[in-house]
Amino acid sequence: MFRFLLTRVSLIIPTFIGVTLLTFALIRLVPGDPIELLVGERGIDPERHAMLRAELGLDKPLLEQYGIYISNVLKGDLGNSIVTKEPVLKEFFTLFPATIEISVCAILFALLIGIPVGILAAVKRGSVFDYASMGVSLTGYSMPIFWWALLLILLFSVNLGWTPVSGRISVFYFIEPVTGFMLIDSLLLNEKGAFLSAVKHLVLPSLALGTIPLAVIARMTRSSMLEVLSEDYIRTARAKGLSPLRVVSVHALRNALIPVITVIGLAVGVLFAGAILTETIFAWPGVGKWLVESVRRRDYPVLQGGVLLVATTVMIVNLIVDVLYGLINPRIRHKRA
């Protein structure tokens, strides 16, 4: 197990170098100058332009800029935003809890519905439920998030008035961030309405963001379940006279879940990508929206630092998934060890 972990952790180093190099190079390959974008139509005289570039360190050779960037990163300094002039780390940690909150709710929503639907569809293979649920999940998978999110808003918020349109909590509650997680902070406020408001604000964004993972998980659970159900040991279990419920929930499910866990790990990356759109539409103050804005404004430090932090998170989650995978499936651990 130790060696297995060691191999996985050592893989993080080249990935880390790859991510820093790629973001550093890509944002500079794209034409556009942060200073020109800041001043717009007004323009700036060449001398001042050169001075500002020098202040931002953009006048140095690229290799040197990269070297400075990496040595700062190793010291834990991701630099300051060109636009807001605030430290990148501070901005990231202000916004990240919102992204985690929405992602966790989305994945919970996907799991709570996706796994039971997948199991049922597998058990009742060929039934109307099977075809209908798989049809719906395929539709969900193919749905553009921004369009789906707007439809949800129009139906549930504007027409039915059941949920708020956007934001994390009603503007009538003044919540000082303690943990940054609105569900927890609203509970700490000790006003019942605040928590309920935070929950209601989470419904549509989680639904919109969770739709694609839900579809993937449901389909994955179904196919993996079907495979397991045709195994010899399941037949043996049935022959032993175990109840169908016990066969499915105890004997089949554990093995069927192995590929599903992989999918969940991969879904974290998908969630971050989806969060960019979901956060913009639902005015959700997370890192997705922040990163998109940094590309538009060529805010190099924010983009480099933000992508690095998000990539690190994805790597850590996948590492945890790999470990879980090993725990659930001894064959993997033993093979590597």
Partner: protein
């Protein structure tokens, strides 16, 4: 469609009526389009930032009268200009209180030291706070203030004198701009002495009608009315900016009663907004101009007959219909009609392809020529769709034998390259900063800007002389005459094809009273009331 009053979300959406007494008061919610870059106005250049900072929390020596470009007294009660136009003496208002915040309780009222701090922080590189928050003061520099202001002196506690290097009539209007928002010198000194100078910018203190009560990045900004505001406490008690970047979502929030005022509606939603009985769709001509500039340093645009001919070759009315969808008026002058000295007597070139062809032949181009049209990659207030506009112009040019290729770049690159004069013709535009004609004519067409913001790279001495004369006098009647004449010269010389002044739409809910559209594109909530 179901509609509710704004206090309802607490009931319907929050689940319960909020018990906090603060919110039983009048709270106006504005669905802003983005986050402010920060709260000290002089550090930034974006309108979104100014809405959240200077326009809510700060005052300037002089103000723009709400909804107009006229100047009125602000923190200065009156001012005098010396005969040579080099000295501006401001008599400051007494009894003006700064905000009291968690970190700061003012021990004195506003005085000359605050004006000196505000200006010197931007002007003097040796000022202790010059580099604070990475300050580069782009707007102050962009308006050429460092070259203009020689000195700023405290005459007494309530008198300040600005000494200029050259006469500059628009100077008063400049002092009404966001970068000139007055900061508290006492607060800055205290924070510096306490070893936390950053707080000066992070937890701002102003004299304005609202004071900051809380900001959650990318989510919400809260303000409370400043109880001791010198012009009287605001009619609303609380002001909330609910940051909502997507225009369709802002509209949904307005419909659902989650906000009262929204900026920048989608053009496609305008018709539905007009039909909605709960929404009052306000509209006003913007303080802007969209244009196609001919690079007068390059053949064949060095010849004014060619420029005039192309002015006649383009069907302006068709552009207004197709691109602005009616939300624009044809421009014939480089300044919008809302600015004083607008010369309505100027005749625009008629759309006349036949005559255009004849003039091109006369100029030595009977078979036309080849050129380019640069189209901006972004939507701007003065041009909703430059790419499509370029296509229309391209087709019109083809009719008179001019073959044009459409060119575009990423926005920053576009600005840089067009400033360097790489184009032959370029689509661009401008939104005014201070309502002074000089801010259009000199900035965009003056000789001093011929390798900068003057995309036509047009330096015409008779025109430039008129502008320089107008800078030197503070007599508005005389300046008006000079600018009117300059507009006649401009039309005759035709360095641009003037396209349109766009119309600004502002949807607000019916319960909002006394809202005025700001000609500068800002959002001002002092003076606005809510009917409950």
């Amino acid at each position: 469609m179901k509609q509710r009053s704004l206090l309802m979300p607490a009931l319907v959406l929050g689940g319960l009526v909020v018990s906090s007494s603060a919110f039983a008061a009048k709270t106006l919610v504005y669905c802003s389009e983005g986050s402010p870059e920060g709260f000290t106005p002089s550090l930034y250049t974006a309108g979104t930032t100014f809405d959240a900072s200077s326009r809510a929390m700060f005052d300037r020596l002089v103000h723009f009268k709400r909804g107009t470009t006229e100047i009125e007294p602000g923190l200065a009660e009156s001012w005098e200009v010396s005969g040579d136009g080099l000295e501006y003496t401001f008599k400051l208002r007494g009894g003006v209180k700064f905000h009291t915040t968690k970190t700061f309780t003012p021990s004195r009222e506003f005085n000359a030291d605050d004006v000196l701090y505000t200006i010197n922080r931007q002007l003097r590189e040796d000022h202790p706070d010059h580099k604070l928050s990475g300050g580069t003061y782009e707007y102050f520099n962009g308006m050429d203030m460092p070259n203009l202001i020689k000195d700023v002196q405290k005459v007494d506690d309530l008198t300040v004198k600005f000494v200029l290097n050259a006469p500059e009539a628009p100077f008063i209007a400049n002092m009404a701009m966001d970068f000139a928002s007055i900061l508290s010198a006492e607060y800055a000194d205290q924070m510096r002495e306490a070893g936390t100078p950053d707080k000066t910018d992070l937890e701002p203190v102003g004299t304005g009608p609202f004071q900051l009560a809380g900001y959650q990045k990318d989510a919400v900004i809260r303000y409370q009315a400043h109880p001791g505001y010198w012009a009287g406490k605001a009619a609303i008690d609380n002001l909330v900016f609910s940051i909502t970047p997507d225009a369709a979502v802002r509209y949904a929030k307005l419909q659902a009663g989650e906000c009262h005022v929204m900026p920048y509606p989608n053009p496609a939603d305008i018709e539905a907004m007009k039909a909605d009985p709960d929404i009052n769709l306000m509209e006003q001509e913007g303080l802007n101009v969209g244009y196609l500039a001919f690079n007068t340093e390059k053949e064949p645009f060095t010849d004014k007959r060619v420029r005039q001919a192309l002015n006649m070759a383009i069907n302006k009315a068709a552009i207004i219909d197709a691109i602005y969808l009616g939300a624009g008026v044809q421009a014939k002058n480089p300044i919008p009609p809302t600015i004083w000295s607008y010369n309505d007597a100027v005749q625009d070139y008629p759309y006349d392809p036949e005559k255009a062809k004849a003039m091109l032949a006369e100029a030595g181009y009977p078979d036309g020529f080849e050129t380019d049209i640069w189209a901006m990659p972004v939507q701007r207030p003065y041009n909703p769709n430059a790419r499509r506009m370029a296509e229309i112009i391209q087709a019109d040019f083809a009719k008179v034998g001019v073959k044009a290729e459409i060119v575009t770049f990423e926005w920053g690159e576009y600005l840089k390259r067009s400033k360097a004069g790489e184009h032959q013709t370029v689509l661009l535009g401008w939104t005014g900063d201070n309502g002074d004609p000089d801010n259009f004519l000199h900035v965009l067409l003056g000789c001093a800007a011929a390798d900068g913001a003057n995309r036509a790279r047009w330096c015409h001495k008779p025109f430039d002389d008129l502008l320089m004369q107008a800078k030197r006098t503070t007599d508005v009647a005389e300046r008006t005459r000079l600018y009117e004449e300059a507009q006649v010269v401009f039309k005759e010389e035709a360095p641009w094809f003037t396209i349109a002044h766009s119309v600004v739409f502002k949807p607000i809910r019916n319960e909002v009273k006394e809202f005025r559209i700001d000609p500068f594109g800002g959002h001002v909530f002092y003076g606005v009331d809510l009917e409950q």
